[in-house]
Assembly symmetry: C2
Homo-oligomer: 640 residues x 2
Amino acid sequence: MSEQRKPLSIGSVEIEDDFWRQRREVNREKTIEYQYQQLRESGTLENFRRASEGESGGHNGMWFQDSDAYKWLEAASYVLATRDDPELRERVEEVIELVGAAQEEDGYLNTYFALEEPEKRWTNLNMMHELYCAGHLIEAAVAHHRATGETSLLAVATDLADHIDRTFEDDVDGAPGHQEIELALMELADVTDEERYRDLAQYFVDIRGHNDRLAWEFANIEEIAGYDPDDDEGGIAGQAVNVFLEDGEYDGSYAQAHAPLREQETVEGHSVRAMYYFAGATDVAVETGDDDLLQHLDLLWRNMTEKRMYVTGGIGSQHVGERFTTDYDLPNDTAYAETCAAIGSIFWNQRLFEETGESKYVDLIERQLYNATLVGVSLDGTEFFYDNVLESDGSHDREGWFECACCPPNIARLIASLERYLYAVDDDGLYVNQYVSGTATPTIDGTTATVTQTTDFPWEGTVELDVETPEEAEFAVRLRVPEWCTDVSVSVNGTSVAVDADEDYVTLDRVWDDDRITAEFEMDVQVLEAHPEVEADSGRVALQRGPLVYCVEGVDNDRPLHQYAIDPETEFDVTYREDLLDGVATLDATATVPAKDGWDGELYRSADETDETTAPITAVPYYAWNNRGPNRMQVWIREA
Amino acid sequence: MSEQRKPLSIGSVEIEDDFWRQRREVNREKTIEYQYQQLRESGTLENFRRASEGESGGHNGMWFQDSDAYKWLEAASYVLATRDDPELRERVEEVIELVGAAQEEDGYLNTYFALEEPEKRWTNLNMMHELYCAGHLIEAAVAHHRATGETSLLAVATDLADHIDRTFEDDVDGAPGHQEIELALMELADVTDEERYRDLAQYFVDIRGHNDRLAWEFANIEEIAGYDPDDDEGGIAGQAVNVFLEDGEYDGSYAQAHAPLREQETVEGHSVRAMYYFAGATDVAVETGDDDLLQHLDLLWRNMTEKRMYVTGGIGSQHVGERFTTDYDLPNDTAYAETCAAIGSIFWNQRLFEETGESKYVDLIERQLYNATLVGVSLDGTEFFYDNVLESDGSHDREGWFECACCPPNIARLIASLERYLYAVDDDGLYVNQYVSGTATPTIDGTTATVTQTTDFPWEGTVELDVETPEEAEFAVRLRVPEWCTDVSVSVNGTSVAVDADEDYVTLDRVWDDDRITAEFEMDVQVLEAHPEVEADSGRVALQRGPLVYCVEGVDNDRPLHQYAIDPETEFDVTYREDLLDGVATLDATATVPAKDGWDGELYRSADETDETTAPITAVPYYAWNNRGPNRMQVWIREA
């Protein structure tokens, strides 16, 4: 792809970070291992084996379950890109073999149709997710190829992509019910340099909202394996049916098919679909030089970030339809904020940054990474949130797996590919986008530098960067000034550089050789308020320090959480506690609480009798909540 | 019954009150008329006709639909007690004739069983509501007899009561699934002086929670006419099934059958059932001199009023089970606060007052009458709330009728019998319990006085009472000092009397002849707060003036309601507006609201940038809301 900025490849970045090392070790040793076992136990791998052996019937799980295996392959491939892990490599090869064996003569590959309804291929694009599964296969294949140089899975992916290309040229016309193929085909084009894949991606982006076949059809929903009309809460089919039934006549907005993309003025519908769509559309817009489309995507971005996003970066306000609703409708206790949607947004924002170089997209990646995404997995790596509320009465709890298990492998692949989001290069120099300790070896204008970053982010705002080049070389090093940072100071080799915290990036354009950059990003505790139109946050404040949004949990606080009120002027003690929640900085302060005495059996009384007192309050990072059992929780606390 | 205090009969009180005359005229001319048409259209009267003609099958509506006719008869009888209305009298007689004709040889009377399952009489006390219907027939008969002196309906009721007495003596053992028969039998005993009915009432009160047959049985629920398992939201059967399914093993608390009454420490379960039960149990406790039971009922009363009641007097916190939940669980937007439950509480509290003379019970009657009950009917008398939320996003709207139409005729009978709640007498004198203009003719120790009350309650706190006696007579006149009143002054014939607002009653014990009492009950606007444990009201205040709880409605206020915040010290302008909502006093003040500008596309920002401004806010009485179309509404407003 021809973006202006390219992220460093996974192999060019080594992460040696206290905070992320833990999360990535857990991801590698627990989550990816655990998910492989789930692929076995859920029958997902068995589906491939049976399809390859020409069996019929008995498909296990959801009809798009193949994608679980593909996302696992993608995550495992990212791990293999940075580590020699023979056992994991063997497993990856075993799964690739199973997948390849299930591919049909003509390149088609989908175990649900192979086992259940071979004659119905490509007859229900809206519900049956053949293109969604194909997209995840392609992403896995690209990741595997980049990680290992091998083409075993890439060959399967190109055969399938070629089959799709032929099919949509000759026989079928329409867009998928769940976007994913668009961005995947753009990745495949990038690896193979095949223009046809870009054209096909563009076709899928452009036809959506134009084609009559996109009208949602549920005619054969009850024939779909895995859909039990009496137990439809967890399933996508059930969700879709609920959306359909609730709204009567379905208008297509659930899948962003209510209008052509260029005519959509607000982010609508199923949030994960929207993010994958916009990511793919950004790729296409960049590739075709379609500035109008890019500007239109930024308009949608602004609608999302200015009116339809939780402070955590979570998106999607309601369970029914897992979707965006209306401007400023952001209920906390019934928030959906699906983990996959935050991850999809990171994919989209990375593309927007690569094209524009604007830090606002990277700021959002940081917010969604540390909050809306990381909360989706338990500290031990084996339990997951699908939806991420910002307030809980104690009934919200992570689960080991889901009938529709999209989120767990999605987190796994994101955490395993964190390297891609830290640095980028363009012709002029280096972007340091995220502050994570480790070593990067970017090549800028022919010079490969070694950049060693040392920081205690997200707990401390100090960042040291040692820049070494084989010989003197002139290029720019751009340090992102996070949106939450109100004061920044930077020095090079001990000499202060004039900087302005309002800048998006501090740009150090000089000749480098063996130099040390030291940056101090002030990490105040920020007491945030929401826009007055947000009813759910009215009269409330949220706490943020650095990139981390905080919350109060019942286990840390004696009073019912609703009784605490915080003055925006409150001073907070920031204490790093190694023994707590794998090590977190807590925020401790004195809050206002109602006096308990003087009520004498009254339930209501004159408010001028109000007697207030104070009580200590402790907040922990939002991502770490619900790791000490079910627990009351609030992000938004009453303002005193 | 042998209570210490007796309410004046309906015929001894003539209401000539600006506020209540409107409500009672609408009740008489619109509501009772409209409900008669509903009895025809819903097939309720047709059920009696068909049963009387020996037809089989085709019962219309809910299996307890007979009770709608009985409650209508009761309401209409109260009207006939004070007015000569030949047309209404004819209708009443026509309905009584239909009812009587449907009674079977042995006294049994229930059109559902007559038409559908004659062989299943008395086989499912929990679900089938035969005793509930019988109770309402008895209440109607007592009202009709007292109003007209006739015995046409009373004879039907005594025949049915005798049948029940025989049945429960010989064949059947158990308590009804829905209480009502208990208080009705006590009324019947009062009119007929038949000790057997009291004993039977006591049996039903006492056996509940003791008998194995009270375990909820849903075995034949699907055989019940009117129960459609695919459309169970409105129906009681559906509700009951939902309760059952939600909790798995049903523990009986839904119908207060989880323990014997004397072992229940909290008010539990379906609120209407609880109120009817406690009313009947109070009658029985009084009659049997069971002070322990009376004290236990007061313990339950304290749990209800101190921990489980809305500021409006509404009770029942959740839709599922229409029930009490846990202490301080009082959500506003999902409140149930069923109209019937408030009415049932008035029945119960009247009995507690009659026995104890304590004003706290009358205070609660006032609160529930002006707020939780009156809100249940539209100003035009033809639309009804079943559940009464304290906060609405605009989607809550009164309806013309309900599949389970318990509330509309319940309001009609309460409003038509308002006379009973205004005054009471004991051997020493008169209680003036409610301030309503009109004339009462109480007989105290042999002297019949004429007491003429003149007041503009609930808008103004001045009350004049002219007490005339045929000759000089010494007795006490006790004026209730409402709980909301912080300052009261009283004079007799222009001479001040020393009084204390903390007193429950101002007692004027003197010789009366032709004297004028003038009382001033100060009606400040009260800004109330809820107990700190009530999460839903945390950081919020409610407005009350006199007996009226106020609310803000979207139609009167420019901003979204959540943006207004009120300082407890705020001064309110009280303005009576004749043209608004059939005439109401509005509360107008200046509230704090967030400034709209300075946001520049942000969704979240530092709270220390908070810029506040002011805006006018207007509150209207809660009972009058939703009379200008669907509308956002809040009782609890943020505290500034």
